[in-house]
């Protein structure tokens, strides 16, 4: 059996030829009629979604607007304590996060988008980037009130993230996210970023350990909450008989 000793390229070509010969599975006329009838019965004109780029700009703008309202309400006492280079650094880190997560969200609500960065990688890379940035930008101080000063930040950040998540969920209602779990995680990540943004302006404890654990914790808690809520919703929908 000489073909067993053929080089891989020749075997691959034969596999190719066989796959090209695979007959298309033709539809029965009855099924075609059924499909045309079902689709034709509710055939209203629809307005297409804007492009991924436009959606990204929309999400980013809404983020900035909502964050600006919250910051104006909750104050900028923490931001005033920063050196100019620290303020510039943290604003740059937050801006990268808004762009990255808005893009990830826009990709997810448009089926078939070529996602150059997988969603999980976008949350993880942003989380690592934020923690690294905080470690480099802020001083490391010993603080007696690490827990007593930290808990309120985690609570305030999470309290800001909840309406942020609801807002972005409403904004993405027209889209069709195909993977509920990754969509939930991305929604959680952008909501958590909203919480971090408000904390970076408001919180006066701008030292590395506090920012990494308590401000970074808001992002982690939001992503976990988003994924868990999505899992529960998916299980509920799936276990409902069709």
């Amino acid at each position: 059996m000489a073909e067993l000793h053929l080089p891989d390229t020749q075997i691959d070509e034969k596999i190719d030829r066989l796959l090209e010969l695979v007959a298309a599975s033709e539809l029965s006329p009855e099924l075609r009629r059924k499909l045309n009838g079902a689709l034709g019965a509710s055939l209203q004109p629809v307005k297409p979604l804007p492009s991924v780029r436009v959606l990204m700009v929309q999400f980013g703008s809404v983020f900035l607007l909502f964050a600006a309202v919250l910051i104006a309400t909750m104050g900028i006492a923490g931001f005033r304590t920063l050196q100019a280079w620290q303020a510039l650094g943290i604003v740059a880190i937050l801006a990268v996060g808004v762009s990255l997560l808005s893009l990830a969200l826009a990709w997810q609500v448009c089926p078939g988008s070529l996602q150059k960065i997988p969603p999980v990688l976008s949350w993880a890379s942003y989380g690592i980037g934020f923690l690294t940035g905080a470690a480099l930008l802020f001083p490391w101080r010993q603080s007696a009130g690490f827990f007593s000063q930290g808990w309120p930040c985690l609570l305030i950040g999470s309290a800001v993230a909840i309406p942020g998540g609801v807002l972005f969920w409403l904004l993405t209602r027209r889209g069709v996210p195909l993977s509920t779990v990754t969509f939930g995680g991305t929604l959680g990540a952008i909501a958590g970023l909203m919480g971090i943004t408000v904390l970076q302006f408001r919180c006066i404890h701008q030292d590395a350990a506090h920012v990494i654990v308590w401000h970074g914790g808001v992002l982690l808690a939001s992503v976990v909450a988003g994924v868990l809520i999505a899992c529960v919703l998916e299980r509920t929908v799936r276990s409902t008989p069709q």
Partner: protein, 204 residues
């Protein structure tokens, strides 16, 4: 007669060295005419729906028809796919290629159906012996698709989209929410597995 012996007889002999993943694609309706039909579908043109159903359903049915499925199961899944495509039709943008969009929706319909079956199956109480699984699928000699259906699901869908539907690496990456590199890697693994299956088949 072993499978690869028949392969050698059937296949046209050639000694090219092109990358199997980038190989030639079967004919399909042109992308621009598909986009045009989809835009007319969004505008509510019933003739465009009929043409789209006729031209895309054979490839979609082949994509839906996995291992251990009857034709009627695959046709049910195809109907689910079209209903989801219908509900999501506003998310298609005419500036984007159509096939990644269609197959992204179809892929998730298929995944959801699989998970739903698995979930419902895990709740069922076994009261009798399962029927012979071989009765659901024809013997492996009948169709190269039987070999493809034995691949892991991620590799199977990539091979069907690339080689049976004729999509490009970028289009498959769009449909599977991954990158062209990841698709290429899956396709290479699938070809290695198919080679092994063919060698095992010929030694029987």
């Amino acid at each position: 007669m072993g499978y690869s012996v028949r392969l050698a007889n059937e296949a046209i002999s050639s000694s090219g060295t092109e990358d199997p993943v980038e190989g030639t694609a079967p004919a399909r309706p042109s992308e621009s005419s598909l986009r045009d039909l989809m835009v007319r579908y969004q505008q509510g043109d019933p003739a465009a729906v009929e043409t789209l159903v006729t031209s895309l359903s054979p490839a979609l049915l082949r994509f839906c028809w996995g291992a251990g499925m009857s034709r009627s199961d695959a046709e049910d899944l195809l109907q689910d796919c079209w209903l989801r495509i219908h509900r999501a039709r506003h998310t298609y943008r005419s500036s984007e290629p159509l096939l990644p969009w269609i197959f992204a929706v179809a892929r998730h319909t298929r995944l959801d159906a699989y998970r739903r079956r698995r979930r419902l199956g895990s709740r069922e109480v076994l009261v009798a012996e399962n029927p012979e699984p071989a009765s659901l699928t024809p013997p492996p000699e009948h169709d190269v698709m039987d070999l493809v259906n034995r691949l892991p699901d991620g590799q199977r869908e990539v091979i069907v989209m690339l080689k049976v539907v004729g999509m490009s690496l970028e289009e498959v990456a769009g449909a599977t929410s991954s990158t062209a590199g990841a698709v290429k890697q899956k396709a290479h693994r699938a070809y290695a597995a198919l080679r092994r299956m063919l060698a095992a088949g010929s030694s029987v």
